[in-house]
Amino acid sequence: MLYREAGQFKTTYSADMAIFPIRQDRVALILLLLFAFIGVPVMATFHIWPLGSDYMLRAILIPFLILALAAIGVNILVGYCGQISLGSGAFMAIGAYSAYKFSTGVHLPLAWLGTALAIPPLPVLPSILLGGLMAAVVGILFGIPSLRIKGLYLAVATLAAQFFFDWVFIRVKWFTNYAPSGSVSAPELNFFGLTVNTSIERYLLCLIFVTLFAFVAKNLVRGNLGRQWMAIRDMDIAAELMGIRPFYAKLTAFAVSSFMVGVAGALWAFVYLGAWEPLAFDINRSFQLLFMVIIGGLGSILGSFLGAAFILILPIMLDQVPHAIGVPISVETVSHLVFIVTGALICYLLIVEPHGFAKLWSIGKEKLRLWPYPY
């Protein structure tokens, strides 16, 4: 009754091809964005439940937004282009460390050329974007094997990127500016004279990035490029016969995906962690991102958000439950139980709905269209 597109006639082609063709979707999205951009900061400022304390913003919303951005990146590669990647943690690390290097100034002595590459310290925003760009370049390099290797073999091959870069950022001291502990800290977050300090400001910063990139991603996957990716995903040989260049399609997917993951990595390091070690981007991060994408729904931008929320919030909730109901069990037992419950839920979700939350969402929308008369 409420959610029905009957009567919304399109009179132009551009209206028909709009990004959200149904009016109710547009209204809901605008309301959601208004809430995220205005409602949440206002609630946090006046300490209205559930944003009474800083914790909600700092420990849940900010990591959720950043990981959702990374999940969108992974989804472009895995969900839209069908190239399984277990190296996304490495691309986050490349984004983070490149951004760090650009923001502190690059000095690379090129002894064999008798010269040195020197770039003065850049402001934060260009550093973050250049971090994404570096990740994209490396992504293209590690995407080249995908032209020959497919499926699970490719997944294992991308592990090479993961382990190689883990090692590089631990062993090659140049990347950490020779910090003795191997841990580096982010520069002051200064954007065009505005300094981002409090949790609310950090939240808004992440929100701007995520909103922008989500729209970019949504538009990319509806367009020519996205259709090429999906054709490659569905059957690469058939796509090639139809005139889609696998080389171009696969490498653009790797580039766009790595760019977003790299930007997310830079944000994760600069905005969320502040100071970090290579361990922040290890293989578990890659798995976490892949989980988000699969639980959320392969080939769905919305699914990336849902998956990120689920995978991030589930362990936090499970951690709280024994405290909340007052069961005295040790921290260690709780962490084991969290493992078991997370694993069981993942299995359960895969069995009940292998296409993820996004599929549940679209089923819900179909039901809503017919409601309250199911015929």
Partner: protein, 309 residues
């Protein structure tokens, strides 16, 4: 002569270490061959088997059971645990997902990994438990030919022997027994196998059980080497390059892949490591695997991938 002696020592050490990787990789191959499932839980199964074994051993020895009896009973107990977990996985995780695509099945085994890791540590504890089933001291070979001889770890030799026996046993099982034939039939074509009356869920239980027992064997060797502890699950990641070099579907491939990785890794660490900073063992196997894949996308021994439209 000293240089050659050192080379030989590194090579032999690497080859034997490679056999130990193969032990873990074998479990992957078995399940992939029979059900097309890429079983990420193999490392967790090694942990579960090791913990069940070492904890029951400690329990019995502390109560005065003679050591040989304790070992036999411990192995039986751990085998039982693996059988139960095989049944549970088949019944509740993989079974309901028949006919889903490979990625979904892969993710479900990662889910199973979490469950097994959590449950194993919850039940059996999460410390480092030393296991002493095999001698861990070293032999010095060819002392007459090389000054100081060649150092060979006895445990690695045991590991090699066990792997050899295991592979022979598995080969006989797959080629000669009725169940083995049924397994190969299921691997070829699920639907066709079902239509000639092969009970698929029983076959998959057997496969997971065999993989569980292989994990138990791997756990005895690796547990003696490292102590039974959580980090043993990372063996699964170590076994992946072995697997793709050999090819997912080939038992001999797992062995050859293990040997290549083991030897290559150790040689690279000793002869290449000093030039580019140590610790390259960490990623060398993966890069080697990547190089092999670029030349042969199905691994050295994998079945040729044929694609139809």
């Amino acid at each position: 002569m000293v240089v050659f002696g050192q080379f030989l020592e590194v090579l032999i050490g690497g080859l034997l270490a490679g056999v130990l990787y193969s032990l873990v990789a074998l479990g992957f191959v078995l399940i992939f061959k029979a059900s097309g499932v890429f079983n990420f839980a193999q490392g967790a199964m090694v942990l579960l088997a090791g913990l069940a074994l070492v904890r029951s051993l400690d329990f019995m020895v502390a109560r005065g059971v003679p050591v040989w009896a304790a070992i036999v009973l411990g192995l039986v107990f751990a085998g039982l645990i693996m059988a139960i977990s095989a049944w549970l996985i088949e019944r509740f995780v993989v079974g309901p997902l028949v006919n889903q695509d490979g990625l979904t099945l892969f993710m479900s085994t990662i889910g199973a990994t979490f469950i097994i890791e959590g449950a194993a540590q919850l039940i059996f504890g999460s410390d480092v438990y030393p296991l002493r089933l095999f001698p861990t001291d070293a032999w010095f070979l060819f002392e007459s030919a090389f000054p100081g001889g060649i150092l060979v770890n006895k445990l690695d030799v045991w590991g090699g022997l066990i792997a050899g026996i295991l592979v022979t046993g598995l080969a006989i099982f797959f080629q000669k027994t009725k169940t083995g034939r049924a397994l190969r039939a299921v691997a070829d074509d699920h639907a066709a196998a079902q239509s000639v009356g092969i009970p698929i869920s029983w076959i998959w239980f057997v496969v997971w059980l065999v993989a569980g027992l292989v994990a138990l064997v791997a756990a005895t060797v690796w547990g003696t080497k490292l102590g039974v502890q959580f980090s043993i699950t990372f063996l699964a990641l170590k076994a992946l390059p072995v697997l793709i070099i050999g090819g997912f579907t080939s038992v001999p491939g797992a062995i050859v892949g293990g040997l290549l990785i083991g030897a290559g890794e150790k040689l690279a660490e000793v002869y290449l490591g000093p030039f580019i900073g140590g610790g390259i063992e960490y990623w060398f196997a993966y890069v080697l695997a990547l190089a092999v894949l670029l030349a042969r996308p199905q691994g050295l021994f994998g079945e040729r991938i044929i694609e139809r439209i």
